[in-house]
């Protein structure tokens, strides 16, 4: 038998079960949940944990996602650690409550299974659901495998509950590609997770011994300053998260991935900028293109809010062209990641060219051959010193692969 150097139990888990096990490991105290495909197996699994006595939590089977987020807000304001999960239309339905959670500075963690919005009905993946929520004061982390789903949820509580942050976080995983695909997930021993993530100590809470009115009318003389405080906390996330992750990884024997995870980027003059599983698919394309002599790498933006612009500038300082892969479209402009990347580069004196590629919407399959093709096109533009098309849609019907 091989001696395992790292502790914990490894199970073969879907992304959704990894999220459920993470919520259990984080000892969440209140779960408010409503079913939506493809998120449902998260909250089903948690209800099993609660009913079998494996998780000591109040479980509120709400009648809508609006109420799911509202109940999490109430529970969190009362001082408890709250969790929920949703997807697509459910996330959209929560919208005003999402604002309230962030404005109330409540460290709620939510797993979001990224799914397209209708019409027509589509249960498959893209990032349009969470990207539509990017401006509301929630931290957003995008996962690329199921271990990361598990780790990120626990890290998210550690991060969000820090007195200097006090913001909610959504941990995002792609529908089916992660949510319903099983992978080995190692779960560190519970008592060690408890040491890493002790019970929540709220900075404030609804307390009859210390009556405070929360969320009252906020005039123009006050409102803006509270919003500035959210922005400041977001800036601090970029400093704190790497420490929170390193602490976790050091204790439990994982490799930290940081705000942006890179692959073969050291000498890259051409880089894919991607998120989630697309970035891992792109690694295969990178390997193939490297064999053809193209100096290419892939940077995976793991944290989208706050956007790690300083780190990105550092990583791309020697690159000549960035090919941005967006599993999302902001209608009337381009993919949101492309926009963020361009905006980030503007502060650089010398900056790489940027070409945007929109792909994989509503679960449209993306192969590494397609990404390799994108790489070759981008390389051509890099050599010409000119991006011939700002945004290219990949894999539309009727186009040859």
């Amino acid at each position: 038998m091989v001696q395992v150097a790292v502790k914990g139990e490894t199970r073969f888990l879907t992304g959704n079960y990894a999220a459920a096990y993470a919520a259990k490991a984080a000892r969440v105290q209140v779960v408010a949940a409503y079913p939506i495909t493809p998120q449902t197996t998260i909250v089903e699994k948690i209800s099993e944990f609660v009913e079998h006595g494996e998780l000591d939590a109040q479980y509120i089977r709400v009648e809508s996602e609006h109420s799911a987020m509202a109940a999490c807000i109430g529970a969190s304001a009362a001082g408890a650690r709250a969790f929920t999960a949703t997807s697509s239309h459910g996330l959209a339905y929560m919208h005003e409550c999402l604002w309230w959670a962030a404005g109330a500075r409540l460290p709620i963690v939510m797993a979001v299974v990224n799914r397209a919005l209708g019409p027509g009905w589509n249960i498959w993946t893209d990032y349009c659901d969470t990207m539509a929520q990017r401006d509301i004061g929630w931290i957003q982390m995008y996962c690329a495998d199921n271990q990361e789903v598990f780790n990120s949820i626990i890290q998210a509580y550690k991060l969000c509950e820090d007195p200097s942050i006090q913001l909610p976080c959504m941990v995002d995983e792609e529908a089916f590609i992660l949510s319903h695909t099983s992978m080995p997930v190692r779960m560190p021993p519970q008592e060690e997770i408890d040491e890493y993530l002790p019970p929540r100590k709220p900075q404030w809470k609804l307390d009859v011994e210390d009556p405070v009115t929360f969320g009252a009318l906020l005039s123009p003389a006050w409102y803006m300053d509270f919003r500035f405080m959210i922005q400041e906390a977001m800036e601090r996330v970029k400093e704190l998260f790497p420490k929170v992750e390193e602490d976790y990884c050091r204790r439990f024997g994982f490799e930290p991935k940081g705000l942006i995870e890179t692959y073969r980027c050291e000498d890259a003059e051409l880089m894919f900028i991607a998120m989630g599983t697309l970035a891992y698919e792109a690694r295969l394309a990178v390997d193939a293109l490297r064999e053809q002599g193209i100096k290419i790498g892939v940077a995976r933006v793991r944290m989208f809010r706050p956007f790690p612009k300083e780190l990105l500038r550092e990583l791309v300082s020697d690159a000549r062209l960035l090919a941005v892969l967006d599993r999302q479209i902001s209608f009337g402009l381009e993919g949101a990641l492309a926009t963020e990347v361009k905006s980030t580069l503007y502060a650089m004196e010398e900056r790489p060219l940027v070409a945007g590629f929109v792909l994989g919407l509503g679960g449209r399959d993306v192969t590494y051959h397609q990404i390799e093709e994108i790489g070759r096109k981008a390389h051509e533009w890099m050599l010409k010193g000119k991006v011939e098309r700002e945004t290219t849609w990949i894999g539309l019907r009727g186009e040859k692969e």
Binding site: A71, A78, L206
Partner: protein
């Protein structure tokens, strides 16, 4: 009235209109609830009445919340407290009629079906008063509002009976014009576990167009004419409260016209319109009479 606690939880300097029925109701409700209370307040007049940041005219913790989520937020607070071993605090959703009968009914119905341990109180001033008098599902037939400039065409939604249909342990109606009755009902509701619902008819001089000194009079006339009925439904058992009990006999009820004529919002009602309202009141009472006799 002398027997009510002297301690005030709604403090002087609050921002209600002169003669505000809801603030009278809130004052007496809080006297009954006492210190170990957490209020959830969705968008409504009380969002303003409590005072703007950084001051507050309410002496218990308040969580202000989005319009549609009073009940679900209260459910979350109750669960959050329970998870921390706190079970002697009354979690109260305090919402207007729009936040209850219209935009908040889904969350309320969900909480009631689950039996969440909350007390939901609707103070009903029969329109969206905070946004400037727009009709709600609780606005009575014929009433002028800014979105029914020639009078509302539909009758008032019967929320207390909708809540009773959920089979919750306690449903009651009340009025600030009968403060002892209101006080006793809140006290009773506090002692019961599960979802409890109290619906308070709360006259609004600003929206109903009557002099601000007449709030109690208007509230009493609503009960005396049978336009508002005071009752309790405890574990399914319907009971008319003392001010309303004699009115089961139609002859004991004052004509609806007496109530209508006190208020500018009904100014344009014709005799036919009043007859429509009277017929509706009589029909509502026929239903209560059946419940009362069983």
């Amino acid at each position: 009235m002398k027997d009510l606690p002297r301690e005030e939880y709604l403090l002087p300097g609050h921002a209600a209109c002169a003669g505000c029925g809801p603030s009278i109701a809130l004052r007496h409700t809080l006297k009954a609830l006492g210190r170990r209370t957490i209020l959830v307040i969705p968008a409504c007049c009380t969002s303003i009445i409590q005072g703007p940041f950084p001051v507050s005219a309410v002496k218990v913790p308040i969580f202000n919340m989005v319009f549609a989520a009073a009940a679900s937020t209260a459910s979350g607070i109750a669960a959050g407290l329970k998870a921390q071993g706190i079970e002697d605090v009354t979690v109260v959703a305090w919402a207007g009629d729009g936040g209850t009968a219209d935009i908040g009914i889904q969350a309320l119905s969900g909480a009631a079906e689950r039996g969440d341990n909350i007390l939901y109180i609707c103070y009903d001033n029969e329109a969206y008063m905070n946004t400037g008098i727009q009709r709600s599902g609780a606005t009575p037939y014929g009433a002028w509002t800014t979105t029914t400039p020639t009078g509302k065409l539909e009758h008032k939604k019967n929320l207390p009976m909708i809540m009773a249909a959920h089979g919750i342990p306690y449903v009651a109606t009340a009025s600030p014009a009968y403060p002892l009755d209101l006080y006793a009902k809140v006290k009773k509701a506090m002692k019961i576990k599960g979802t409890r619902y109290i619906h308070i008819h709360a006259p609004c001089p600003t929206g109903w167009r009557y002099p601000s000194s007449k709030t109690v009079e208007v509230g009493r006339r609503a009960v005396q004419t049978g336009m508002w009925v005071l009752f309790e439904i405890e574990n399914g058992k319907f009971k008319l409260s003392r001010p309303s009990a004699p009115l089961v006999e139609k002859s004991r009820r004052r004509p609806v016209e007496e109530y209508v004529r006190m208020q500018g919002r009904f100014r344009d009602l014709t005799d036919e319109d009043i007859a429509v309202l009277q017929a509706w009141v009589d029909e509502v009472w026929e239903n209560y009479k059946k419940l009362y006799s069983t």
